[in-house]
């Protein structure tokens, strides 16, 4: 195996999957939000919900399309760049990928057509059903992907045949591997939070720029509700997920906390510069004993350090350490945003507090950053393994040449840079125009071009 080709394949996969994860983590939440909005509109006939639905539907269409095309890439990259991984893992997790396509991808793709273009072709009940099915599809999709990834984190329900092939022995244990339930909950809540932060930021931006607007007031309150409930819940679920890391992947936990020595009374490092060459931290700001308390439940708990692993079995430490701190830091900021917003809703009204609106705008991208940071913790923390304890990343790649992979990587860098900048521009443009501008457009389309109605002046307002 060409060493440069391996590195380039890793870069390409990390880039394309980090890019991809941005869109599902937004559209999983947005699909559920759209289902709630349409349900509320059908239930209450309050036009605010319909306007919001049609507005966020446009943003959903843009981001969902980007999620689909970048997801298709991954289903081929697995074989193209990681053929050994594919061959080794397929007897156990191959079916999970097939189920993702069969139970989720088709559902989303087919009913998305109804959702976007069927507004006047099917009745409201059927249209609502299509929206719900797309939302359910996004969750099923996350279920299978997180299930497959959790199995790579902690393989279970399989054995190794004499010829070295893997074979599944218990499908239930494969699908529900030990870390899966907590990780699936963690990912779903992360998606909901990410979406709520974007909706909150968009609403706050409109309230700052365009003044009072019923739609934006409503969507800001809905977003605050999500921050206040989901952000603290996420802290809890994240802690459960972290506890499973301690038992299942002690090397990852040691990297997250930059523990080098195995000892009781581990200090908690608020900040540090871990150095693998040195096998220690170059500098650190720490709170004594707190590390053992957080990770082991008591200051006397003995927690394994990285030195108890062979150097070749240690994950990169600094990246994992800092990614974890970025994720948790943003999570705490989200909790504060939720509690502050809830307090404002109870006291007076959040739209009257300029500082709050500005904070909500600033926190708009926080969910994406936290999701990518969390993904870095999970995936880089698993290194040097691609299937933990079974297959090393360095043994998993395809027989490719560095030249080939640099060309494809260059292609992805250019194409993704274009579609990302343009996609974000179009979404921001829609957000700046606001939900009400969108609903006028739809009225325009009700009039066939060339009919007398089309020549009539616009309604004022």
């Amino acid at each position: 195996m060409d060493v440069d080709a391996l590195l380039l394949s890793r870069l390409q996969f990390a880039f394309t999957i980090a890019f991809h994860i941005i869109f599902p983590s937004f559209t999983i939440g947005l699909a559920s939000y759209l289902a709630v909005l349409e349900g509320l509109w059908l239930g209450t006939r309050n036009e605010v919900f319909k306007t919001l639905y049609l507005f966020w539907l446009k943003i959903f269409a843009i981001s969902f399309g980007m999620g689909v095309v970048t997801g298709v890439v991954l289903s081929y990259e697995l074989g193209a760049n990681w053929s050994v991984f594919s061959r080794v893992s397929a007897p156990v997790i191959g079916p999970l990928f097939a189920f993702e396509v069969l139970t989720a991808f088709f559902l989303e793709a087919s009913f998305l057509g109804i959702m976007l273009f069927g507004w006047k072709k099917v009745g409201p009940g059927l249209h609502f059903t299509a929206t719900v099915l797309v939302a359910v599809g996004t969750l099923i999709s996350a279920f299978w992907i997180i299930s497959a990834n959790s199995w790579m984190q902690h393989p279970a329900g399989f054995s190794i045949l004499p010829n070295g092939d893997l074979i599944a022995t218990d499908w239930f244990k494969v699908v529900f591997s030990p870390s899966f339930p907590a990780r699936f909950a963690h990912m779903t809540l992360a998606a909901y939070l990410t979406t709520a932060l974007v909706i909150g930021a968009a609403s706050a931006w409109r309230l700052l720029k365009a003044g009072d607007e019923a739609e934006s007031r409503m969507s800001l309150r809905m977003a605050i509700g999500m921050f206040a409930i989901v952000a603290p819940l996420q802290l809890l679920v994240g802690d459960i997920s972290g506890k499973s890391v301690e038992q299942l992947q002690p090397a990852k936990l040691a990297a997250i906390e930059a523990f080098w020595d195995t000892r009781t009374e581990q200090p908690f490092h608020i900040a540090a510069w871990p150095d693998r060459e040195l096998a220690g931290n170059r500098w650190e700001i720490s709170i004594p004993k707190l590390g053992s308390l957080i990770t082991g439940g008591s200051a006397d708990a003995e927690i394994r350090g990285l030195k108890s692993f062979e150097p070749r079995d240690r994950p990169p430490v600094a990246v994992v350490f800092w990614a974890f701190r970025v994720m948790v830091g943003l999570g705490i900021a989200m909790i504060i945003l939720g509690l502050w917003g809830a307090w404002l809703c109870w006291k007076s009204a959040p739209e009257r507090s300029r500082p709050y609106l500005m904070a909500a705008v600033a926190m708009g991208p926080a969910g994406f950053v936290a999701v990518i940071a969390g993904w870095v913790v999970a995936e880089v923390g698993r290194q040097p393994w691609v299937i933990y304890g079974v297959l090393r990343t360095e043994d998993a790649a395809s027989p490719l040449l560095a030249g080939q992979v640099s060309l494809s990587l260059l292609g992805f860098l250019i194409v993704y840079a274009i579609i990302f900048s343009v996609g974000v521009l179009y979404i921001l443009r829609l957000i700046a125009e606001g939900p009400v501008a969108g609903s006028h457009e739809l009225v325009d389309e009700d009039r066939a071009p060339g009919t007398p109605l089309a020549a009539m002046p616009e309604d004022p307002g």
């Binding site: 095309v69 061959r87 990928f97 069969l102 088709f106 998305l112 027989p399 389309e445």
Partner: protein, 340 residues
């Protein structure tokens, strides 16, 4: 229970790829024809496929994901062997996939760019798929069940000929689709495109068939051409396949001449079905030509069985709602389709 699981799965994957080629074939074809239309016609062309393209492309994901899950050894060889065209195809599909939405959101320059990206991405994807197919027919160099060839194996005069055939074939599917689904001037234009693409497909199909027999003696033997001699006993059972292709071409031509709206598209689908069956007859039971059969490449029996249970439950539902979505958007494209 004694189900022949590898055989069933070979059938499922082959059907998924066939569905992909036929369905995404016509919407890629619409993109290939984009440069020849006016801006207003392009809006109608894109509206005619916007509600269904995503579902169409999902068959490609099932083809790839299904190959991984059912025939991992083949997946692990074919993808690295055809790395260049596979990556090119993915990049093309990314550009054209986002163009559906971006084109509607762009203003003047943005719109022009995404119009070009939709056409360019569609053509790139079609060309890349031609190289994948051509490289596949040529055969893949194997050692110890792993790819052992060079990075440019897929680029030969033969594969270039296959590329031309695929691009013309998709253009024919796209043109006949538009004949079926559009009205007025665009309908007339699509008819002319089909008149140009149809004969091109006929010539290229014949050329690719001939080249395949000449370049690949192993396939020629299947069809009864053994060196100097011709063995009708081998050819006759396969004769319905080229006959089906001829019938398809006649249906396209007669349909166009009689100003039928639906028949030319049906004829174009028959041509693709015939070409696909012809290839399958040349390869079977190889899944990686010419060194790995589908039995050698198959996943563990228990994995295939597990997947079959779920597939048996879900696939009928997928087919039912896919047909239903096409039914909802049946008929000529009208201006009130969009939500933009």
């Amino acid at each position: 229970m004694s189900l022949d699981l590898p055989l069933i799965w070979a059938g499922i994957i082959a059907t998924a790829v066939l569905f992909y080629v036929m369905l995404d074939g016509f919407d890629l074809g619409v993109g290939i024809l984009f440069p020849f239309a006016t801006e207003a016609e392009r809006d109608v062309m894109i509206d005619s496929i916007a509600p269904v393209w995503d579902g169409n492309e999902t068959w490609l994901v099932l083809g790839g994901g299904g190959l991984f899950a059912a025939f991992p050894k083949a997946y692990a060889v074919i993808m690295p062997a055809l790395y260049g065209p596979i990556m090119l195809m993915l990049l093309g599909l990314v550009m054209r996939g986002v163009a559906f939405e971006f084109r509607a959101r762009g203003r003047v320059r943005g719109r022009a760019f995404w119009t070009a990206a939709f056409a360019g991405g569609s053509i790139t994807a079609a060309v890349a798929q031609g190289f994948v197919l051509g490289g596949f027919i040529q055969g893949v160099t194997l050692r110890d069940e792993a790819f052992a060839g060079g990075p440019w194996d897929w680029l030969t005069p033969y594969t270039v000929l296959v590329v031309a055939g695929i691009v013309a074939g998709y253009a024919l599917l796209g043109a006949t689709w538009l004949v079926w689904r559009t009205e007025t001037e665009l309908h007339g234009k699509a008819r002319r495109w089909a008149w140009i693409a149809g004969p091109l497909v006929a010539v290229l199909l014949a050329a690719v068939s001939l080249a395949t027999l000449l370049v690949h003696p192993r396939i020629a033997v299947r069809w009864g051409f053994t060196g100097e001699t011709f063995d009708p006993a081998a050819f006759l059972p396969l004769a319905p396949i080229p006959l089906l292709g001829l019938v398809g071409l006649v249906v396209v031509a007669v349909g166009l001449r009689r100003r039928s709206h639906g028949w030319p598209f049906a004829g174009a689908l028959l041509v693709f079905l015939s070409g696909y069956a012809g290839l399958a007859a040349g390869f079977f039971p190889n899944i990686v030509p010419y060194g790995m059969t589908f039995r050698q490449a198959a996943n563990a029996e228990n994995a295939l069985a597990f997947m079959l249970w779920v597939t048996a439950l879900v696939l009928p539902a997928i087919l039912a709602y896919s047909v239903w979505v096409y039914w909802v958007f049946r008929g000529k494209v009208t201006a009130d389709a969009g939500y933009h």
